[in-house]
Symmetry: C2
Subunit: 489 residues, 2 copies
């Protein structure tokens, strides 16, 4: 079964005189080999995936710091088992894993990015089981991080394994960069990437950390919103007060906070921060048209979410609002007594966690500057407003044509048996903006998570069928990228 | 030392031909006896008080239910040790303790009310120690419940002990009603009081659950604000969503909640609920004048609270706003991710805990009806508003003259060596409204807690000096009430 690649390469080159022959070889033959391998190893692959999702690598919670490191070690070991050299790189925060397999200096370099850290999850949040039990129910592997992002990057590791154990060594320099701080905005990865720039030097970057447009529909994402976050804390009296004794005479920080927050949107659903929309590039007519033609039903969407009506910026469709327009969301709020029962307290302070989703050509830093500046001009009796800036990433949009993108389209078509759709995504992967700025090479984003996969919410799951398709897609992509390279020669 | 009361009574009556003699006897002589007894037993009293404050009888937290019952048993035992019959009365919620000592059917009946339950307290709330350690530092006994209300009702128990062990049996029917649900709005005490109406049948009610106007200033409170509370929950999508994927297309319940809450006050600090002020009796000119003459300095008040400015309803002084005007306070708010770090969630729901403080002649039920009705007319896309009504109590104001009130004034003058001041209080004791409605007898409210005692906040304390003064005041009050009775004969 093991065919050395250079033999296959020579063979292929000899056949590559007609597109038809090449098509047969590269698609049908390889796919069969990959599919056989994945089929034979599917239980073993799944058990490995269960192992990594059981590690509660919640990057935002200091109590989980050792779990985060344990996850990094697991990822490094996964590469080492394939005889792919891998090391843990310290970042000052949670570590990243860099794996590399080199073909030759003249070969193109592909960087596959993923993250092994996950969002917080507690059973109380609405999960119907322990979020880290990694139970399998039918086609679903249910666990925090199963879809976002462990299942997806693991499919690429298994794709590489499939390639190595069937075809052999590809004539590509391959790097995997799997980080541990994506869910907290990748605060340290920028420094790491700049430090490792010479080692990475990609010709293309592959990322699977987005969603499929719908079930059974392979999807390429060519744009992401940027994200920047901040905490607004309103401070009133120097201690918690009895709201009977002091209420009416002293400003309540919760009142001040809700007034500030309520003022951040107007009645058209637009963000009121002065200058917020200045750098927003209008949606292009072709995009609005293409998106309008996608299968989409607001009624289904509402029904799935259990709401009577949608909401958002006036003048845009639901897709346009979530993929192509900026937002300000309050992601958390707390102040005063939040336990069971009641406590008549006039609290010392109240806090909101806010995120801004940005679209081209907004910049994360400038958006936060505008927010901060806006809050500076709010004056309220007897309270102070503190803004603490958290991490951010810029929005991106990539070209939807070119040989690398075409290779991805073919690989997805192979793995899923269908033509992929092109979409943008409302979510944000901070590192993508950084890659765009540092390397300016094609970034190929193919997400394998279903739209209802529950990432960031309860009962997150990854489809086992899609996991296997993703592994075949990944192995096929290595083959397709090889051919782009060979085509260039 | 033990003098039977009837002997002392006969002796007194023989002397009572001149006011001067009576004054000497009733004030100087008895006070000396009480003071000697309190002085001799002060360490023992304090140890007992430490015992009861160490029981974390937090009525609002289900996890503390057994502590609440333990506190009730402790209180019952405290009476039984004095040979005062006492029993635990079940209420459906936390139990109450009813103690009684009868003189004769023709004797007047005095009911002393207190509560053994406390507000929640955790070290994290800003306490500089375990809130239930009951440490003594200088003159302070520091603990949750030390001032509100364990120290205060315990002073009355020790006042009775002092009287019984010096003068003997007073010609009064005395009942202590010490409940366990005051901090959750006394939801079950109304039923209990109505059931025990014949046994209670008071001629006067004594309550020490308010504050002194300032240090060393004995204070009678003749009015309390009413209190009614509710929880507003805004419900959006049927699960927590990823705010990148869905943000902009779906209403965020936190946004809706802050908008609703921000709309509950206007820019003059007035509550916007239609009809809210309809039943508010304007402050009387004599009250505004008397309050303006009290020693008060807004600058000191601000400095003590660490705020640059005060806030509240335009057109009223700080005292007027906190004692005599109604308010709406947000006592707690939560929604989305509230832990350390960040989670980009668009949450399923968000909740606020709200209290309305009411003044005569507002009614708790009507105020909640108005709030609920107001919220019913708020329409927002894709969200539902749920209001859950919690417990409430009506505001009260009592006559500041009459023989019972005069007796309290004399007792406080004796215990503290100073003329008491008359005030209203912004706080609420739900049972006071109930007493007023059920019995329509004088309610004598003398609070022994200092204004900075920290009730409902961190580092609550009770002055040990005031505790001893309160015991002497309580014993003297029994003597003074006896004389009102004898004067009636």
């Amino acid at each position: 079964m093991r065919i050395r690649f250079h033999e296959r390469d020579a063979f292929l080159k000899s056949l590559a005189t007609t597109d038809t022959m090449r098509e047969i070889q590269s698609r049908r033959c390889f796919v069969t080999v990959f599919a056989d391998y994945v089929h034979a190893h599917r239980d073993c692959f799944l058990r490995e995936l269960q192992e990594i999702v059981r590690i509660p690598s919640v990057s935002t919670e200091p109590a989980h710091a050792s779990d985060v490191r344990r996850a990094a070690e697991w990822v490094r070991n996964a590469f080492q088992k394939l005889n792919v050299s891998a090391e843990i790189l310290e970042t000052g925060g949670h570590p990243a894993v860099l794996a590399e397999r080199n073909a030759s200096p003249s070969a193109p370099t592909v960087v596959i990015y993923g993250h092994y850290d996950v969002q917080p999850a507690k059973k109380d949040d609405g999960w119907d089981r322990d979020p880290f039990s990694a139970d399998i129910e039918g086609d679903k592997l249910i666990a925090r991080g199963a879809a976002d992002n462990k299942g997806q990057f693991h499919a690429h590791i298994k794709g590489l394994e499939t390639f190595l154990n069937t075809i052999g060594q590809p004539p590509l320099n391959i790097r995997f960069l799997i980080e541990g701080e994506e869910e907290i905005g990748s605060p340290n990865l920028g420094g790491l990437v700049r430090k490792q720039k010479e080692r990475l030097r990609p010709d293309a970057i592959v990322i699977s950390d987005t969603s499929m447009y719908q079930v059974d529909t392979p999807t390429i994402c060519y744009g992401l919103r940027g994200l920047t976050t901040a905490e607004i804390t309103v401070i009133g009296p120097n201690r918690d007060l009895h709201s009977g004794t002091f209420g009416g005479a002293v400003a309540n920080p919760i009142h001040a906070l809700v007034e500030i927050l309520a003022g951040l949107h107007d009645s058209d659903g637009r963000v009121t921060i002065p200058g917020f929309y200045d750098d927003v590039k209008p949606l292009e007519p072709w995009e609005r048209k293409a998106w309008a033609e996608l299968p989409w039903d607001d009624a289904d969407y509402r029904e799935n979410l259990g709401i009577a009506e949608l909401w958002g910026e006036r003048g845009y469709t639901s897709i346009e609002r979530s993929w192509g327009r900026p937002t300000l969301e309050i992601n958390g709020i707390y102040g005063g007594f939040t336990g069971v029962g009641f406590k008549t307290v006039l609290p010392h302070s109240a806090t909101a966690k806010i995120s801004l989703r940005l679209v081209p050509d907004q910049r994360a830093k400038k958006a936060l500057d505008l927010l901060e500046n806006h809050l500076k001009f709010i004056y309220m009796n007897g309270i102070q407003i503190n803004v603490s800036r958290l991490a951010g990433g810029n929005p991106v949009r990539f070209d939807v044509s070119g040989p690398w993108m075409d290779a991805l389209i073919r690989a997805l078509k192979t793995g899923f048996g269908r033509q992929p759709v092109l979409m943008r995504d409302g979510g944000s992967i901070p590192i993508v903006g950084l890659f765009k700025e540092e390397f300016d090479v094609p970034v190929l984003m193919a997400g394998f998570a279903r739209p209802d996969c529950g990432s960031h919410g309860p009962n997150e799951y990854f489809s086992i069928c899609d996991y296997n398709r993703a592994i075949i897609t990944s192995a096929t992509l290595l083959q397709e990228l090889t051919e782009v390279h060979l085509g260039d020669v």
